[in-house]
Amino acid sequence: MELLQSIADSFNYWIYIILMMIGLYALVAKNNLVKKLIGMSIFQTAIILFYVSIGYKDGATIPILYEHQAHHGHHDAGHGDAEDAHHDVEHAVEEAAKEIHAVAEDHADGHDAHADDHDTLVDSHDAHTSSAIHAEDFANPLVHVLMLTAIVVGVATLGVGLAITQKLYGEFGSIEESEIIEQIRTGK
Protein backbone atom coordinates (compact mmCIF):
# COMPACT_ATOMS: atom_id res chain seq x y z
CA MET A 1 0.00 0.00 0.00
CA GLU A 2 2.83 2.37 0.86
CA LEU A 3 4.52 1.50 -2.41
CA LEU A 4 1.30 2.28 -4.29
CA GLN A 5 1.00 5.59 -2.46
CA SER A 6 4.58 6.54 -3.29
CA ILE A 7 3.94 5.71 -6.97
CA ALA A 8 0.76 7.80 -7.01
CA ASP A 9 2.53 10.74 -5.35
CA SER A 10 5.18 10.96 -8.06
CA PHE A 11 3.16 9.74 -11.06
CA ASN A 12 4.63 12.44 -13.31
CA TYR A 13 8.17 11.07 -12.84
CA TRP A 14 6.96 7.58 -13.68
CA ILE A 15 5.39 8.86 -16.89
CA TYR A 16 8.62 10.66 -17.85
CA ILE A 17 10.48 7.37 -17.41
CA ILE A 18 7.83 5.52 -19.46
CA LEU A 19 8.19 8.08 -22.29
CA MET A 20 11.97 7.77 -22.14
CA MET A 21 11.76 3.97 -22.35
CA ILE A 22 9.32 4.16 -25.30
CA GLY A 23 11.90 6.29 -27.12
CA LEU A 24 14.77 3.96 -26.21
CA TYR A 25 12.75 0.92 -27.35
CA ALA A 26 12.08 2.54 -30.74
CA LEU A 27 15.73 3.52 -31.10
CA VAL A 28 16.87 -0.07 -30.51
CA ALA A 29 14.09 -2.30 -31.81
CA LYS A 30 12.48 -0.49 -34.78
CA ASN A 31 13.53 -1.59 -38.25
CA ASN A 32 12.69 1.60 -40.15
CA LEU A 33 15.28 4.39 -39.96
CA VAL A 34 12.69 7.20 -39.80
CA LYS A 35 10.97 5.38 -36.93
CA LYS A 36 14.30 5.18 -35.13
CA LEU A 37 14.71 8.95 -35.47
CA ILE A 38 11.17 9.56 -34.18
CA GLY A 39 12.10 7.42 -31.17
CA MET A 40 15.23 9.54 -30.65
CA SER A 41 13.09 12.68 -30.71
CA ILE A 42 10.73 11.24 -28.09
CA PHE A 43 13.69 10.23 -25.90
CA GLN A 44 15.15 13.75 -26.05
CA THR A 45 11.88 15.52 -25.26
CA ALA A 46 11.28 13.17 -22.31
CA ILE A 47 14.65 14.15 -20.82
CA ILE A 48 13.94 17.85 -21.43
CA LEU A 49 10.53 17.41 -19.75
CA PHE A 50 12.23 15.87 -16.71
CA TYR A 51 14.62 18.81 -16.38
CA VAL A 52 11.90 21.46 -16.84
CA SER A 53 9.81 19.77 -14.15
CA ILE A 54 12.77 20.05 -11.74
CA GLY A 55 12.69 23.84 -12.14
CA TYR A 56 8.96 24.04 -11.37
CA LYS A 57 7.82 25.12 -7.89
CA ASP A 58 4.33 24.82 -6.42
CA GLY A 59 2.49 28.13 -6.71
CA ALA A 60 5.27 29.73 -8.74
CA THR A 61 4.66 31.87 -11.79
CA ILE A 62 6.69 32.45 -14.96
CA PRO A 63 10.16 33.96 -14.33
CA ILE A 64 9.36 37.44 -15.64
CA LEU A 65 9.39 40.60 -13.47
CA TYR A 66 6.52 43.04 -13.74
CA GLU A 67 7.28 46.76 -13.85
CA HIS A 68 6.30 47.56 -10.26
CA GLN A 69 8.38 44.62 -8.97
CA ALA A 70 11.38 45.86 -10.92
CA HIS A 71 10.99 49.30 -9.29
CA HIS A 72 11.04 47.67 -5.86
CA GLY A 73 14.21 45.84 -6.81
CA HIS A 74 16.07 49.05 -7.80
CA HIS A 75 15.02 51.31 -5.00
CA ASP A 76 18.09 53.57 -5.26
CA ALA A 77 17.60 54.39 -8.92
CA GLY A 78 16.23 57.85 -9.73
CA HIS A 79 12.45 58.12 -9.75
CA GLY A 80 10.04 60.72 -11.03
CA ASP A 81 7.78 62.72 -8.74
CA ALA A 82 4.78 60.55 -9.45
CA GLU A 83 6.67 57.44 -8.37
CA ASP A 84 7.89 59.14 -5.20
CA ALA A 85 4.31 60.00 -4.36
CA HIS A 86 3.39 56.38 -5.02
CA HIS A 87 6.03 55.22 -2.54
CA ASP A 88 4.84 57.76 0.02
CA VAL A 89 1.31 56.41 -0.21
CA GLU A 90 2.62 52.89 0.15
CA HIS A 91 4.65 53.87 3.22
CA ALA A 92 1.56 55.43 4.78
CA VAL A 93 -0.40 52.23 4.14
CA GLU A 94 2.32 50.18 5.84
CA GLU A 95 2.28 52.51 8.86
CA ALA A 96 -1.47 52.16 9.10
CA ALA A 97 -1.16 48.37 8.94
CA LYS A 98 1.35 48.45 11.82
CA GLU A 99 -0.98 50.59 13.92
CA ILE A 100 -3.86 48.21 13.34
CA HIS A 101 -1.55 45.37 14.27
CA ALA A 102 -0.64 47.08 17.57
CA VAL A 103 -4.32 47.62 18.40
CA ALA A 104 -5.08 44.00 17.62
CA GLU A 105 -2.30 42.88 19.96
CA ASP A 106 -3.72 44.99 22.76
CA HIS A 107 -7.07 43.34 22.29
CA ALA A 108 -5.72 39.79 22.25
CA ASP A 109 -4.20 39.83 25.74
CA GLY A 110 -4.96 36.33 26.98
CA HIS A 111 -4.62 34.58 23.62
CA ASP A 112 -0.88 34.34 23.08
CA ALA A 113 -1.07 31.69 20.39
CA HIS A 114 -3.64 33.64 18.46
CA ALA A 115 -1.60 36.82 18.76
CA ASP A 116 1.50 35.00 17.52
CA ASP A 117 -0.39 33.71 14.51
CA HIS A 118 -1.56 37.18 13.71
CA ASP A 119 1.95 38.50 14.23
CA THR A 120 3.52 36.17 11.67
CA LEU A 121 0.68 36.86 9.26
CA VAL A 122 1.20 40.62 9.41
CA ASP A 123 4.99 40.17 9.28
CA SER A 124 4.82 38.15 6.11
CA HIS A 125 2.47 40.73 4.67
CA ASP A 126 4.93 43.51 5.54
CA ALA A 127 7.81 41.59 3.99
CA HIS A 128 5.77 41.09 0.87
CA THR A 129 5.02 44.77 0.38
CA SER A 130 8.44 46.16 1.33
CA SER A 131 10.61 43.92 -0.88
CA ALA A 132 8.56 42.43 -3.68
CA ILE A 133 11.00 39.97 -5.31
CA HIS A 134 11.09 36.47 -3.80
CA ALA A 135 12.82 33.56 -5.50
CA GLU A 136 10.07 31.13 -4.42
CA ASP A 137 7.46 33.08 -6.43
CA PHE A 138 9.15 32.26 -9.75
CA ALA A 139 10.00 29.04 -11.57
CA ASN A 140 13.75 28.44 -11.78
CA PRO A 141 14.88 29.94 -15.12
CA LEU A 142 18.30 28.19 -15.14
CA VAL A 143 16.93 24.85 -16.36
CA HIS A 144 14.79 26.66 -18.94
CA VAL A 145 17.84 28.24 -20.53
CA LEU A 146 19.76 24.94 -20.54
CA MET A 147 16.82 23.05 -22.08
CA LEU A 148 16.33 25.74 -24.73
CA THR A 149 19.79 24.77 -26.00
CA ALA A 150 18.90 21.08 -25.77
CA ILE A 151 15.80 21.54 -27.97
CA VAL A 152 17.84 23.24 -30.70
CA VAL A 153 20.54 20.55 -30.50
CA GLY A 154 17.79 17.90 -30.72
CA VAL A 155 16.46 19.36 -33.97
CA ALA A 156 20.00 19.55 -35.35
CA THR A 157 20.64 15.86 -34.61
CA LEU A 158 17.27 14.96 -36.14
CA GLY A 159 18.21 16.90 -39.29
CA VAL A 160 21.58 15.15 -39.56
CA GLY A 161 19.92 11.75 -39.05
CA LEU A 162 17.33 12.43 -41.73
CA ALA A 163 20.03 13.63 -44.15
CA ILE A 164 21.94 10.37 -43.61
CA THR A 165 18.69 8.45 -44.15
CA GLN A 166 18.19 10.18 -47.51
CA LYS A 167 21.78 9.36 -48.57
CA LEU A 168 21.25 5.72 -47.55
CA TYR A 169 18.04 5.62 -49.61
CA GLY A 170 19.95 6.96 -52.60
CA GLU A 171 22.61 4.26 -52.10
CA PHE A 172 20.48 1.21 -51.28
CA GLY A 173 16.94 2.13 -52.38
CA SER A 174 15.47 1.32 -48.96
CA ILE A 175 15.10 2.83 -45.48
CA GLU A 176 14.62 -0.53 -43.76
CA GLU A 177 17.64 -1.46 -41.67
CA SER A 178 17.35 -5.22 -42.33
CA GLU A 179 17.28 -4.74 -46.12
CA ILE A 180 20.30 -2.39 -46.01
CA ILE A 181 22.28 -4.88 -43.89
CA GLU A 182 21.28 -7.69 -46.24
CA GLN A 183 22.52 -5.72 -49.28
CA ILE A 184 25.82 -4.92 -47.55
CA ARG A 185 26.28 -8.58 -46.55
CA THR A 186 25.62 -9.96 -50.05
CA GLY A 187 27.70 -7.22 -51.69
CA LYS A 188 24.63 -5.90 -53.60
Binding site: I22, K30, V34, T45, V52, G55, H144
Partner: protein, 81 residues
Protein backbone atom coordinates in the same frame (compact mmCIF):
# COMPACT_ATOMS: atom_id res chain seq x y z
CA UNK B 1 -0.08 23.40 -12.07
CA UNK B 2 -3.45 21.65 -11.69
CA UNK B 3 -2.65 17.97 -11.24
CA UNK B 4 -5.65 16.62 -13.18
CA UNK B 5 -4.71 18.76 -16.20
CA UNK B 6 -1.12 17.55 -15.81
CA UNK B 7 -2.24 13.90 -15.70
CA UNK B 8 -4.52 14.19 -18.76
CA UNK B 9 -1.76 15.75 -20.90
CA UNK B 10 0.79 13.16 -19.72
CA UNK B 11 -1.55 10.27 -20.61
CA UNK B 12 -2.16 11.76 -24.07
CA UNK B 13 1.61 12.19 -24.47
CA UNK B 14 2.20 8.48 -23.87
CA UNK B 15 -0.67 7.58 -26.24
CA UNK B 16 0.60 9.80 -29.09
CA UNK B 17 4.17 8.53 -28.59
CA UNK B 18 3.04 4.91 -28.89
CA UNK B 19 0.75 5.59 -31.88
CA UNK B 20 3.42 7.52 -33.80
CA UNK B 21 5.77 4.55 -33.35
CA UNK B 22 3.18 1.87 -34.21
CA UNK B 23 1.51 3.38 -37.27
CA UNK B 24 2.71 1.93 -40.60
CA UNK B 25 2.35 5.12 -42.65
CA UNK B 26 5.37 7.38 -42.05
CA UNK B 27 3.51 10.57 -43.04
CA UNK B 28 0.93 9.89 -40.31
CA UNK B 29 3.76 9.15 -37.90
CA UNK B 30 5.27 12.58 -38.64
CA UNK B 31 1.94 14.34 -38.07
CA UNK B 32 1.29 12.48 -34.80
CA UNK B 33 4.79 13.45 -33.64
CA UNK B 34 3.71 17.05 -34.28
CA UNK B 35 0.71 16.47 -31.98
CA UNK B 36 3.09 15.01 -29.38
CA UNK B 37 5.29 18.13 -29.60
CA UNK B 38 2.28 20.42 -29.19
CA UNK B 39 1.13 18.54 -26.07
CA UNK B 40 4.67 18.82 -24.69
CA UNK B 41 4.50 22.56 -25.38
CA UNK B 42 1.23 22.84 -23.40
CA UNK B 43 2.79 20.97 -20.49
CA UNK B 44 5.84 23.25 -20.41
CA UNK B 45 3.79 26.45 -20.54
CA UNK B 46 1.81 25.04 -17.59
CA UNK B 47 5.08 24.54 -15.71
CA UNK B 48 6.00 28.22 -16.18
CA UNK B 49 8.65 27.58 -18.86
CA UNK B 50 7.12 29.83 -21.52
CA UNK B 51 10.36 30.34 -23.44
CA UNK B 52 10.93 26.58 -23.71
CA UNK B 53 7.27 26.14 -24.68
CA UNK B 54 7.30 28.47 -27.62
CA UNK B 55 10.67 27.25 -28.82
CA UNK B 56 9.19 23.74 -28.80
CA UNK B 57 6.08 24.96 -30.66
CA UNK B 58 8.19 26.60 -33.36
CA UNK B 59 10.99 24.04 -33.58
CA UNK B 60 9.49 20.73 -32.40
CA UNK B 61 6.04 20.94 -33.96
CA UNK B 62 7.12 23.10 -36.92
CA UNK B 63 10.64 22.49 -38.19
CA UNK B 64 11.07 18.83 -37.27
CA UNK B 65 7.67 17.97 -38.82
CA UNK B 66 8.80 19.70 -42.04
CA UNK B 67 12.11 17.76 -41.95
CA UNK B 68 10.31 14.45 -41.44
CA UNK B 69 7.74 15.12 -44.18
CA UNK B 70 10.40 16.16 -46.69
CA UNK B 71 12.39 13.00 -45.90
CA UNK B 72 9.26 10.85 -46.31
CA UNK B 73 8.53 12.51 -49.68
CA UNK B 74 12.11 11.95 -50.88
CA UNK B 75 12.25 8.33 -49.73
CA UNK B 76 9.46 5.81 -49.20
CA UNK B 77 6.24 6.33 -47.26
CA UNK B 78 5.64 2.74 -46.13
CA UNK B 79 7.25 1.28 -43.07
CA UNK B 80 7.55 -2.41 -42.29
CA UNK B 81 6.92 -1.96 -38.54
Amino acid sequence: MIWIFDLIILVFLVITAIISLQVKDLLSAAMILGVYSFLMCLLWSGMGAVDVAFTEAAVGAGVSAVFLISTVLRTSRRSSD
